[in-house]
Amino acid sequence: MGFLITTLIFVVVGIIASLCVRICCNRGPSTNLLHLTLVITATVCCWMMWAIVYIAQMNPLIVPILSETE
């Protein structure tokens, strides 16, 4: 469940970011498309990294073995 919810959060953040960029720098359709592409790419990259790290820890095969000291 945590995975889906956080994915949804990423989607929402992405949409908000693209809206913000559209509002604050609206410079013609071709430039807007470029900005949108950049925001979507950044969101996808960030989500991908988070998702990989999250999924890798869902069913771990290795567990932490504390070191001797302390």
């Binding site: 999250y54 869902m58 290795i62």
Partner: protein
């Protein structure tokens, strides 16, 4: 030559493809030529072609004007030298409103140069006489002292002689007085010479004089404490005053010659006390006169230099501008019959109205009866590549251009590079503490942008300043990945929730042998903070980061292949879509896409399957049973299918395309029509760039070999490029290990001593190590590797990069030209 993108579903994206350019021809009447070129230079949107390239520089129309400008530039350089020697700085700002005439400037420069040269010559002469007089004064002083002391001694001696026997060997005896006190039958006529000799040569001087005159001289030297300016060389030197007493003409000539050889300046000195005093006052008077004269001369020169300094930048700019204009005018061909100049150049399509506007204004301003003609030419030559970038995207475009300038209108990798490059950097850099440091540094550069851009910075600072927006993006992404890796100067923090792991039982007896177990939900954002410092940290993180690198790599390579699909669609090449894009996608995804899917399935199910084993045996023995390596049902069938598809896609990439191209070529030639302008396939080297008829050569064997190389490159590259992405893991591991070492072995160790001084030293060492190794070296290292991943693994899927950059004629980039 611009084709509309896709099917009109979305507008063409800024920066994706280079601006459409056209070849324009401009015919200008002679009288408005100069003004036209000047206005076009101000506009900065036309790249002129050199129509007189076969002529030597001296045969060109405007060679004389260029020589004039060269002369003026030389004079300006001379002024600049003089100003910097005198310490006068020219006024920085230029009054752009005042338009000055080149002829006026030339005349003024000539006058000023003559005046300056004259002043300098006079100054030198005066300075020389001044120095000589200073030396003369010193000689008068010191020699005067010597003779005075000699007189005193003589008087003392005389009184002694009257009472005692005289000792003949007294070298200190005043010679002049002794002459009178001894037998007057021997009248030895002694002469003397006074002067100055450089201190380092003084001993040798004395010795040589002694030897040359066989010891028949008496020399007395006296050290001058301050250094004196030598009149001949103009430099300060340490000198001694010498007095040489000799007898006889031969000795005198020898001494004179030796003095000349040693560069010792001689000055006349009279024995008479009265005359000495007179000379002294005279010399002092002349010295002070000369000093005021020299002072006045220097003042006059400085005033002159300051007047030059006021106008210097303006003249400099004007001369360089005129030179550039004449160079460009030389590129236009002279149409003698029509008394006009014809110019050809590349210009962006969007600038057409502006260019015509400039032409019209020039025609009006130069009062010519005829206006200029502007027309567009059709050509098969490849236009230059021009991207309209702003201060943010310029740095990224330069990064891409450093590898190769994009071919005209092919997809520009820098669109996605703006995000993926900082992202890949951050994957290798991941530490939010270091990210914040980078952010602060780059915010300083960005906030002081205006001020720093007008200053002259050193080479390294120049590069860092130019890339400030790149570093800004890099730092933002680094903070994000640092939060994901959970590293703040290598210390993890449970920022988002508590750790998911707990001891198996209350006593935690097995924590160091078997380890903890996962009881709560997965740590919601990033790596669980419990991992840092555990014994199994490295196996876990290595496995995680390696698989992450593969996933990211496969994603970026797929993006690259999709970019090649965009190119194929834009240039309307169905061959490239069906016989290059499709088999490439199939090959890459059947093997490495499948691997990525396996990774995700393994993570999701927590299976213990060995992925190395799975992948290798998929090739070695595909028919074998998978056994415990089964990750999903029917895996064997799926694997066999993928293997078959991958094997099929190789000849699919290799064989059909050359034959189809051959058929197309034949069809074209049978139709006897011009080739379509958009049939620019990557592998089709048919059209040479020389324009004209488009004489097409079609060497089938060449095409085939080219396709073979391309296929082998792709197939082998699929494996090697995927493995190459593992550097993301490697550098990230290096960074976190270094950071952890600096923290534990420096800071914690210093803390453990409980001593303030050791703590302070430890903190200093930690700061220097962090800044030097992690913030500078690691940044450069990760930057370089991210760059390599883009240039090679990403761009070789679609980028050709054999275009040339648009270099318009403009005045704004006149940096330090020295033509």
């Amino acid at each position: 030559m611009a084709e509309s993108h896709g099917g009109g579903c979305c507008p063409p994206m800024d920066l994706m493809r280079s601006e459409p350019m056209h070849l324009v021809q401009v015919i200008v009447p002679m009288e408005s030529a100069h003004l036209t070129v000047s206005y076009l230079g101000d506009l900065g949107l036309v790249q002129f072609k050199d129509l007189n390239s076969d002529k030597s520089p001296f045969q060109r129309t405007y060679a004389a004007q260029i020589k004039r400008c060269g002369e003026m530039a030389r004079k300006i350089r001379f002024f600049k030298e003089q100003m910097s020697k005198a310490g006068v700085t020219p006024k920085e700002t230029i009054d752009k409103e005042i338009d000055i005439d080149l002829d006026d400037v030339e005349v003024k420069l000539g006058e000023l140069e003559a005046e300056l040269v004259e002043i300098n010559a006079n100054n030198d002469k005066l300075q020389r006489s001044y120095n000589e007089l200073v030396e003369y004064k010193l000689v008068l002083e010191k020699a005067g002292e010597f003779f005075a002391s000699a007189h005193r001694n003589a008087n003392a001696q005389r009184s002694e002689i009257e009472t005692e026997q005289v000792d003949e060997d007294l070298l200190e005896a005043p010679l002049l007085q002794e002459e009178k006190s001894v037998d007057t039958t021997k009248q030895v006529k002694l002469g003397f010479l006074t002067g100055l000799v450089p201190r380092e040569k003084s001993m040798v001087f004395e010795r040589i004089l002694f030897r040359a005159t066989r010891g028949n001289i008496f020399i007395r030297q006296s050290v001058i404490e301050e250094s004196v300016v030598d009149p001949n060389s103009g430099e300060k030197a340490e000198k001694n005053v010498f007095v040489v007493f000799y007898s006889g003409e031969r000795a005198k000539s020898k001494i004179l010659k030796i003095c000349e050889a040693f560069g010792a300046n001689r000055y006349p000195f009279s024995e008479d006390l009265g005359k000495q005093a007179q000379m002294m006052t005279e010399v002092s008077g002349r010295l002070s006169e000369l000093k005021t004269t020299i002072g006045a001369g220097l003042d006059h020169r400085n005033i002159l230099l300051e007047t030059i300094g006021d106008k210097f930048e303006q003249w400099n700019f004007k001369v360089r501008k005129e030179k550039a204009i004449y160079h460009t005018l030389n590129m236009l061909s002279l149409d003698v019959t029509k008394k006009c100049l014809v110019g050809e150049g590349w210009s962006p399509v969007f600038a057409a109205t502006e260019v015509q506007d400039a032409l019209q204004r020039a025609a009006v301003d130069s009062n010519s009866q005829v206006g200029s003609i502007f027309q567009v030419l059709r050509t098969k030559e490849m236009p230059p590549t021009f991207f309209r970038t702003n201060k943010f995207t310029t740095a990224f475009q330069e990064i891409v251009d450093a590898y190769g300038v994009a071919k005209y209108q092919e997809a520009n990798p820098s669109v996605f590079t703006i995000v993926t490059f900082p992202f890949l950097f951050a994957v290798m850099f991941g530490d939010w503490g270091h990210g914040i440091c980078l952010l602060l540094a780059t915010m300083y550069l960005i906030l002081r942008e205006k001020k720093l851009s007008s200053q002259k910075l050193g080479d390294i600072m120049e590069m860092a300043f130019g890339g400030r927006y790149v570093i800004f993006m890099m730092s933002l992404f680094s903070i994000y990945t640092g939060l994901i890796y959970n590293e703040f100067f290598s210390i993890p923090y449970p920022l988002f929730a508590s750790s998911a792991y707990e001891c198996r039982d209350v006593s935690c007896s097995e924590a160091t042998t078997i380890g903890l177990i996962k009881t709560r939900d997965t740590y919601p954002f990033g790596v669980d903070p419990v991992w840092h410092g555990t014994r199994s940290e490295l196996p876990f993180l290595n496995s995680l980061k390696m698989k992450m690198s593969i996933l990211i790599g496969v994603a970026q390579m797929n993006l690259g292949i999709i970019m090649s699909f965009f190119n194929a669609k834009f240039f309307k090449s169905a061959v490239n879509v069906w016989f290059q894009f499709v088999p490439q996608m199939i090959f890459l995804n059947c093997l490495f896409g499948y691997l990525s899917v396996l990774i995700i399935i393994k993570w999701c199910t927590g299976s213990q399957a060995d992925l190395y084993h799975v992948m290798i045996y998929m090739f070695l023995s595909p028919m074998d049973d998978l056994g415990e390596n089964q990750l999903f049902p029917n895996q064997k069938i799926v694997q066999l299918t993928f293997l078959f598809l991958a094997l099929v896609s190789v000849p699919w990439m290799l064989l059909p395309k050359p034959f189809i191209l051959k058929k197309q070529h034949e069809a074209r030639h049978q139709g006897l029509s011009y080739a379509h302008l958009d049939e620019t396939d990557e592998s089709l080297q048919v059209e040479t760039n020389g324009g004209g008829h488009g004489h097409e050569e079609f060497e089938f064997s060449e095409i085939f070999v080219h396709q073979l190389i391309h296929t082998i490159e792709f197939v082998l590259g699929a494996v090697s490029n995927t493995a190459s992405y593992l550097r993301l893991w490697a550098l990230s591991l290096a960074h976190s290990e270094l950071s952890s070492v600096f923290y534990e072995k420096v800071l914690l160790m210093a803390w453990g001593f409980n001593n303030v001084f050791i703590l302070i030293i430890g903190i200093l060492v930690f700061i220097f190590a962090t800044v030097g190794v992690l913030l500078v070296m690691e940044t450069l290292s990760a930057f370089l590797h991210a760059l390599r991943l883009h240039w090679v693994e990403y761009q070789n899927k679609f980028y050709e990069g054999d275009g040339y950059k648009f270099a318009p004629f403009t005045f704004t980039l006149d940096g330090n030209e020295d033509e």
